[in-house]
């Protein structure tokens, strides 16, 4: 079945060499194939940011939404057609910052969608500003004197919004576990959040200061 195997648009990704998003993309495709999901039955909504730029590289139905809005768009798609597999790809800026209200609502609604967050604790596409998960005191480009805010804990937030929601962590350093968790998140019936710990290869060093 042609529609099963190749989830690629054959456009070369534009991420920095060594970026964790290559792995997230590859594993997502692998999980889709393993689950035998026809690409016409998958809708991926992408936030704005480096992770969201995956939009051009995957050949399923997709919506590259406005910043922060990938989750409510995914909810709209799933409510409109529950037969579809609906996944959101975004970063910590879009999902935990601009769109945090939507994340909480999706968890409360327990809509059967999967939100995958490439969490590198930075706004990276805009070249390195503080994000909702940046450690307090980190000297980023928008906080040269050190970030004043304590970081949020997205898993706690989602679980406290709805204990029935699925929320777990993984890291790009551990590809095997990441693959298992992506599969679990996608197959979970109800809302799922997979927070993927990543390090930005271009601006991550800001966090070391």
């Amino acid at each position: 079945m042609k529609n099963l195997k190749n989830y690629n648009t054959n456009i070369a990704p534009t991420w920095c060499p060594g970026c964790g998003n290559f792995l997230v993309k590859a594993l997502l495709e692998k999980v889709f194939a393993k689950l035998s999901l026809p690409k016409n039955d998958i809708v991926i909504t992408y936030d704005i940011g480096c992770a969201g730029n995956m939009a051009d590289f995957l050949d399923t139905y997709g919506v590259h939404t406005l910043h922060g809005r990938a989750v409510p768009v995914a909810m709209g798609v799933k409510i409109a057609n529950p037969k579809l597999t609906v996944v959101t790809i975004g970063g910590d800026g879009g999902i935990y910052g601009e769109g945090l209200n939507h994340l909480i609502t999706a968890a409360r609604a327990n809509t059967d969608i999967t939100t995958i967050v490439s969490n590198n604790c930075l706004y990276s596409l805009t070249t390195g500003q503080t994000s909702p998960t940046t450690p307090k005191g980190a000297k980023t480009k928008s906080t040269p004197q050190g970030s004043l805010l304590v970081p949020i804990n997205p898993l706690f937030l989602v679980k406290s919004a709805n204990s029935k929601a699925w929320a777990e962590k993984a890291a790009t350093q551990n590809p095997k576990q990441l693959e298992e968790k992506i599969e679990k998140a996608v197959t979970h019936k109800g809302f799922s959040l997979l927070d993927i710990e990543q390090r930005c290869v271009a601006f991550g060093k800001l966090l070391d200061k």
Binding site: N3, T9, I11, P38, K39, N40, D41, I42, V43, T45, I48, N53, A55, D56, D59, T60, Y61, G62, V63, H64, T65, L66, G68, R69, P72, V73, A74, M75, G76, V77, K78, I79, A80, N81, K83, L84, N101, H102, I104, T105
Partner: protein, 560 residues
């Protein structure tokens, strides 16, 4: 001139003013009168000062009137706020013993507190007034009682008693005050709907199946109406966390194949404008139902104004095609409910339907919407995807390319908020970007043949041409009925964007042109100037939260 009678009930919130007004309208419609009501209420739940008036006639009636013939004050002194609505023969019923001399009208001692004791239920004061009204207006008592029975169902008992108490008291006491009314000559079979419910009906008839809204006066009526119908009609009606989510969810639903609409007022629409823009570039067709109230900011939540025309027309960052429709009355609110859905799928771009509190929340006797025949047009929606499907194919001269929805094999595409190529893939290529801008812009041209055309009411070759849009239609039509002669025409702009060239043809023939708007800056004038390089001779504007009434427009028109 329409021979109409206006009955108004006033008093604090929470005394059943709205119920008695709606019930009076129902009684009248059941006895073949035409009605148009109008309510005023502050943004609170108890206390304050509420009004509900019903203007009715044996002929068609397009607007509520300013002058009140029968005024009920549920608490003494509330009537004093309405002195300027009285005329020589107006009757004011108030529970006070001394009959004061007033400049206009007659103050009648109306022992409401005593009558309520007869019923034994203090919350039936409003229905007692209704009984008195029925006697004064020479309505059929038996038919009226059957309407009340139907309206209240199990809870009818006290209300039936109250109606009889009010009717009998009036029969004994107010024989001489009985009004001369013109009886309806034929059966009219009308139903009562406000603009918001009408829009909801249009949405249902047009096979709308996804409606999202966050409560905001004066648009909430549509959310309530559709939420009540959702189960029976098997549609999705949803109240998300904020207006940004409302609009975002609806884009997801529209992308996935639903006929989607959202409802809000100005402040909520402000939050939705990013989505208007997104729909523009991603070519997602959905409907924004915008029911205005006077801003800026929170403004006056429960009052009216046509203050968001330019905001709607210019909403959303960037350049993209957009349609803005303006229903003039409850019937047009219904029609535009389904027309907007058709346009959304046909043109694959945001469609805004702009109404206001006056139209959205005023109830009128209208044709039964359940019987309306409606054409559902889904535009270029494919069932099968062709080989090498390109969702944003820029070949079509009309700018509209065939689309797929998720589930269709081979139809995968990316709906992109970034500029994109014909497959939806992001691009910054100069040539591709320009071609995409041009493709989308061609849809605005295509829209001119699909959107409702302007309508010229009154004289076909008017010397004096009134131009207006939206809810001013009814008051203007009633004002023109009062004027003798054939000098006046009224050009109703139904599609306020893009403006139809027919407007230019009609204005070029008139000697004097007057723009009427329920706003301060005459926003339609700005559009007409921009599009046709034209300045009206006069503007008649009102911007105090109240709608125009026929009488005040007549006074202004006759001096033109």
């Amino acid at each position: 001139m329409t021979k109409a009678i206006t009955v108004k009930v006033v008093g604090p919130a929470g005394t059943g003013i709205k119920t008695s007004g709606q019930l009076l309208a129902q009684i009248l419609v059941d006895q073949n009168y035409y009605t148009h009501d109008y309510t005023e209420y502050p943004s609170l739940v108890r206390g304050g000062h509420n009004t509900h008036q019903v203007s009715f006639s044996s002929e068609k009636i397009n607007a509520p009137f300013f002058k009140t013939q029968i005024l009920f004050s549920l608490k003494p002194d509330h009537w004093q706020q309405h002195k300027n609505e009285l005329e020589k023969n107006s009757l004011i019923f108030s529970d006070q013993k001394i009959e004061k001399k007033i400049n206009s009208g007659k103050l009648i001692s109306f022992p409401l507190s005593e009558l309520v004791k007869k019923v034994g239920n203090p919350i039936t004061a409003n229905i007692i007034c209704l009984g008195t009204t029925a006697f004064l207006a020479d309505l059929d008592q038996k038919l009226s009682l059957s309407t009340i029975k139907k309206y209240f169902g199990q809870k009818a008992k006290d209300n039936l008693t109250a109606f009889k108490v009010g009717f009998d008291f009036a029969e004994k006491t107010y024989q001489k005050l009985k009004l001369k009314t013109e009886k309806p000559k034929k059966k009219i079979a009308k139903v009562l709907l406000d603009g918001n419910e009408s829009f909801g009906w249009g949405f249902l008839k047009g096979k709308g199946d996804f409606y999202a809204a966050y409560p905001m006066t004066p648009s909430t009526g549509t959310l309530h109406f559709l939420a009540g119908k959702a189960k029976e009609k098997k549609i999705v009606v949803i109240h998300p966390e904020d207006e940004i989510a409302v609009a975002s969810m609806a884009t997801g639903a529209a992308f996935a194949g639903k006929r989607a609409a959202v409802g809000t007022s100005g402040g909520g629409f402000a939050l939705m404008t990013e989505t208007v823009s997104f729909c523009g570039i991603a070519e997602i067709g959905m409907v924004f139902y915008l029911v205005s109230r006077p801003g800026p900011a929170t403004g006056m939540p429960t009052w009216t104004g046509q203050t968001d025309l330019l905001f709607a027309v210019f909403s959303g960052h960037g350049e993209f095609p957009k349609i803005v429709l303006a229903p003039g009355d409850q019937e047009e609110s219904r029609q535009m409910g389904w027309q907007a859905l058709n346009l959304a799928e046909n043109l694959q771009t945001p469609i805004i339907v702009i109404s206001d509190k006056f139209l959205g929340e005023s109830i009128k006797s209208v044709d039964d919407p359940a019987k309306e025949k409606v054409v559902v047009n889904r535009g270029k929606l494919l069932k099968l995807a062709p080989k090498n499907f390109a969702r944003y194919n820029w070949q079509p001269a009309c700018g509209r390319s065939p689309r797929t929805i998720p589930g269709i094999a081979g139809g995968q595409f990316l709906a992109n908020s970034y500029e994109h190529d014909q497959k939806g893939i992001a691009t910054e290529d100069a040539l591709v970007a320009q071609k995409m801008f041009e493709k989308r812009a061609r849809k605005e041209k295509a829209a001119l043949s699909l959107t409702p055309k302007p309508i010229l009411h009154g004289s076909k070759n008017p010397k004096k041409l009134i131009i207006s849009w939206g809810s001013t239609k009814g008051p203007i039509l009633e004002a023109l009925k009062m004027i003798s002669g054939n000098d006046f025409g009224f050009l109703q702009v139904k599609t306020v964007w893009p403006l139809h060239p027919e407007i230019e043809r009609i204005i070029s023939k008139a000697e004097k042109i007057i723009v009427v708007e329920n706003n301060q800056k005459s926003q339609l004038t700005t559009l007409l100037k921009t599009k046709f390089n034209f300045n009206p001779d006069r503007q008649i504007l009102k911007f105090n939260g109240r709608p125009f009434f026929p009488e005040e427009l007549y006074e202004k028109f006759k001096k033109l």
